[in-house]
């Protein structure tokens, strides 16, 4: 059996990603909850930021550019929070609507 072409692989990956997207968004939401629970924990913030960064890159490549753009914007907000001392749970709670709206762009 011959190897699939790049175009075939790209189509398959886009389909697979669309199926995985809810799970990935749920994972981001989970990292956000970790940050709300431990707002001063740099490791939790780094995980949230990395998850948004990866999502942003993958979305753009695999046919979800709008989701990617929203993830990128959220990543920048999290990065800015990372620069601040005295982060509170409220800072992260304020991000919650934006994170929950990553898929649709509409506030829930």
């Amino acid at each position: 059996m011959s190897k699939p072409s790049f175009a075939d692989t790209l189509a398959r990956m886009k389909e697979e990603f669309a199926q995985q997207l809810p799970t990935r968004l749920a994972a981001v939401e989970g990292f956000l909850q970790d940050c709300i629970a431990r707002p001063g924990d740099g490791e939790a913030l780094a995980q949230l930021r990395l998850a948004l960064h990866t999502l942003a890159g993958t979305c753009g490549t695999l046919g979800q550019p709008e989701v990617g753009a929203r993830a990128r914007a959220a990543e920048h907000l999290v990065a800015a929070l990372g620069e601040r001392d005295g982060r509170t749970a409220g800072d992260f709670e304020a991000l919650q609507p934006r994170i929950r709206a990553l898929a649709t762009g509409e506030a829930p």
């Binding site: 790049f6 692989t9 990128r72």
Partner: protein, 397 residues
């Protein structure tokens, strides 16, 4: 351009992206492996050879920058071309990435056309590097072959030198330290009969194979002239001075016949009659013979430089007659001895050589040569000489 034969490692914390990159690279002919973080990627790089690494920037455990720094720090043979996947948030850090060893960047979201263009550039570099590596390997093999052949030539050249001997009333011994595998110095002594001896020392210009071949040719010619024409002339009653001059003139004629551009040689050629206690010596551009009569501790320089061999076709040489009573010592040397540079750049020099010979005047020739060789090595301060170091000691007894 084909990437066939190249191995690529794709590194991204999203397995969908690594699968996509792998598909694109495999379509171009790469053999591809993948890793989902920088630490795992580095472990693969330690275990296998890759020519191309396409890596994300931000990843768990070890990021792309740190991975590139680690790749460059390895210093392993063969170049690894590193392409970094970047997003707009990383654009301000591109200089830092280049300093870390990144060769090129591809923006995220991935656009296959852009990545293809970047890979074209990568493959040009990798093809050039592969070509250079192939040629370096060929050169190393050729150098190895040449070194073995030079070593063999050195063995053959040394095998043509006469062993230390007592012949025709003369004790003869020598030292020859070649500057490289083979050198352009040679020497010989050939008995004419039981009290007459022909001796010579040659220094061919330059070093290496050409000089060594000319030295071997000179050895062959001079041995033949001494044994053939020289012996015949002596036996016919021709005087040693005339014979020595005629043989050197004939040797020059034959050397000119070889017509090797820019090649010439210097020569000391002599005939020694121990019964009569005299010698006939020709200098052809060579350092003078150093001579000490019996009981003397100082050495006198005999003769002048005169014209070297192989420069003027119809040149003629005349021998100088020298009284050589029994118990005399004659020392022939190449300019590699007196021009031997020490650690401070100063040459060993004529005076230092004469002092060394004077100090060893009462030593047997073999012991004198061993002492002189050690003195020169200490003066030089390193095992390799710049020029061949050759000394021939003749002692009438």
């Amino acid at each position: 351009m084909s990437a066939a034969g190249f191995r690529a490692l794709v590194v991204d914390d999203d397995p969908l992206i690594t699968a996509l990159l792998a598909a694109l690279l495999e379509e171009r002919g790469y053999e591809v492996e993948s890793a989902t973080d920088g630490e795992a990627a580095l472990a693969r790089i330690e275990a296998a050879t890759f020519q191309l690494v396409v890596t994300d920037w931000h990843m768990p455990r070890r990021d792309g920058l740190s991975l590139c720094r680690a790749i460059r720090a390895r210093g392993a043979p063969g170049y690894v071309y590193c392409i970094m996947l970047t997003s707009s948030s990383e654009e301000s850090s591109l200089v830092e990435a280049m300093q870390a060893g990144v060769d090129d960047f591809v923006g995220k979201p991935l656009r296959p056309a852009e990545l293809g263009a970047r890979l074209n550039a990568a493959e040009r570099v990798l093809q050039l590097e592969a070509g250079l590596a192939r040629r370096n390997h060929e050169l190393a093999e050729a150098y190895g072959r040449l070194s073995r052949e030079l070593e063999l030539a050195r063995t053959m050249q040394q095998g043509m030198l006469p062993p230390p001997a007592q012949v025709a009333g003369v004790r003869a011994d020598w030292l020859l330290q070649a500057s490289s595998f083979v050198g352009g110095d040679t020497l010989g002594y050939v008995p004419i009969d039981d009290h007459r001896l022909c001796f010579y020392m040659v220094d061919v210009s330059g070093h290496g194979v050409t000089a060594a071949m000319l030295a071997i040719s000179a050895q062959h010619q001079l041995f033949g002239l001494a044994r053939g024409r020289g012996t015949a002339m002596i036996n016919r009653g021709t005087g040693m001075v005339e014979v020595a001059g005629a043989l050197v003139t004939e040797f020059n004629r034959r050397a000119m016949h070889l017509a090797i551009p820019d090649a010439y040689l210097t020569l000391v050629f002599g005939l020694l009659d121990t019964r009569a206690g005299e010698a006939a010596i020709v200098h052809a551009g060579h350092p003078p013979v150093l001579f000490a009569p019996p009981g003397a501790t100082t050495f006198e320089a005999l003769g002048e430089g005169d014209l070297p061999i192989g420069i003027v076709a119809d040149a003629q040489w005349e021998a100088r007659r020298v009284a050589v009573p029994r118990g005399s010592r004659l020392v022939l040397h190449s300019d590699g001895v007196t021009e031997c540079r020490g650690t401070g750049g100063e040459v060993y020099g004529d005076e230092r050589l004469r002092h060394a010979l004077a100090r060893g005047r009462d030593l047997p020739a073999a012991e004198l040569l061993r002492t002189l060789g050690a003195d020169l090595a200490a003066w030089r301060g390193e095992p390799q000489f710049e020029d061949d170091v050759t000394v021939l000691v003749l002692e009438t007894c």
